[in-house]
Amino acid sequence: MIIKQLSVFLENRAGRLTELTGILEENDINISAFSIADTADFGILRMIAGKPDLAEKVLKEKGFAVKMTDVICLIVPHKPGGLHKSLQILSDNGISIDYMYAFATSDDRATVVIRTDETKRAIDVLQMHKLEMLQSGDVYQM
């Protein structure tokens, strides 16, 4: 249930993101989901990639600051209130979310990537409420 997310520190300069995607392409690594958090000077790229260990290795070799973080990929029905229900459950259980981002995987359902300080407890709570999450095997192959 725990998914390995890769975070990469990126300076705001032209062509930097292209360099990174180029390295992943050369190593035949697919990106399933990503988001960028940015400030005036730098950005943090967060992504779910196939072969996360390889991705971490090749990026570090190329001089990027890379960090592996545990996240959850929660599947929510692609309809009004779909996301709300899951978030309500986490909130009711006192689990706070550091950040999250979404990616649509098919017509009838969407997936949200959630980062919290309490990954294990969040998984337990979500499972208890019979909410679906992606397995690591699924997500890296998307």
Partner: protein, 433 residues
Amino acid sequence: MIWNEYHECMERGLLVTLQGQRLRDMVERIYFNVPFYRNKLQEMGIEPGDIRSIDDLKKLPFTTKQDLRDNYPFGLFAVPQQDVVRFHASSGTTGKSTVVGYTHNDIMMWSEVVARSITMAGITKNDIVQVAYGYGLFTGGLGLHYGAEKVGASVIPISGGNTKKQLQLLEDFGSTAIACTPSYAAYLGEALVEEKIDPSKIKLKAGIFGAEPWTEEMRTEIQHMLGIKAFDIYGLSEVIGPGVSMECSCQKGMHVFEDHFIPEIIDPETCKVLPYGSLGELVFTTVTKEALPLLRYRTRDLTRLHADQCECGRTLVRMEKCVGRSDDMLIIRGVNVFPSQVESVLLEMSETRPHYLLVVDRENNLDTLEIQVEVEDQFFSDEVKELEGLRKRIQSNLASTLGLHAAVRLVEPGTIERSMGKAQRVVDKRKLT
């Protein structure tokens, strides 16, 4: 106009005799009162009696900023503390200040050399002098203040900053002279335009600018913006403060007040004394100072000395504007900054490594300092608030060590160039020489 014609226009032969007498007295004083110097002289087999004239100066040992640091705070003082009436301090290489002390006579001597300096700028008791140098541990404010009072001018001790107030007093009090850093003078000039102040209401005629390097282009610009004649003053707290040398109205270099400060130019590598006209490191011996007399103090400033007589009538040698440093010190908004200070801050913090670059620039005539710090893998957090927090912590630690605001920018690991051996730590885009 000359404040002290006797000493400023002294026949060279007489001046050299006077310097010799004062040097002999000084060596005797430090031999008996400063253990550091006594040990050094004894090691070299020199006794006070061996020093008879100025020709013997080259036999004497040098003093460096490191010596001041090693003897922090008062170890090199030649008088007991009850004779010290004032302290000043400037930043040192690793965050520890360089402390200087003054006796009552030292303050009188300092006022005298500053009085000579401001007289060179044509300032008399009929003038209103706005002292916009910082007052405090920095020598600029109080140094100019005492000298301006000595000539009998009306002094406005406004200190640095607070630009609106500066402009208001320029207009309301009718200040005729201003003393500050050249970059602040240029900033004031721009502020005048921005605030739409009628130039005819500004009565300024002269400006005394120093404490940081500036160019002839800046001089032209400041003179034009403020409608003044701009004069260059030189000094460093170790020697006395501002007033070690000053430009006369001929503006062909700064006259060194040699009856108090004996200048030499040396090769910074071999330490050999170089003849007049050669470029080298400026060294001063303070022959009259009581509290902190320094023997052959290495300023690290690179310049030339010229001995041919000036049209103004003064016989004192002139030094050119400094063209650089023989160490890595930077002067940013009048504050001395050593790259090693930045390094020590980064080393003290557990989340950073000392991979950094100082980028100095000048925007709207004010110096800016940006410090780039590499984000290391092991300290990289994937949360913006953590990285922003780190950036702000580095920024505030640097501000308290440097005494200067520096913007911190986090950069990717490995992006700061590592050259063979010594890394390039500074990019200075100000184009001052």
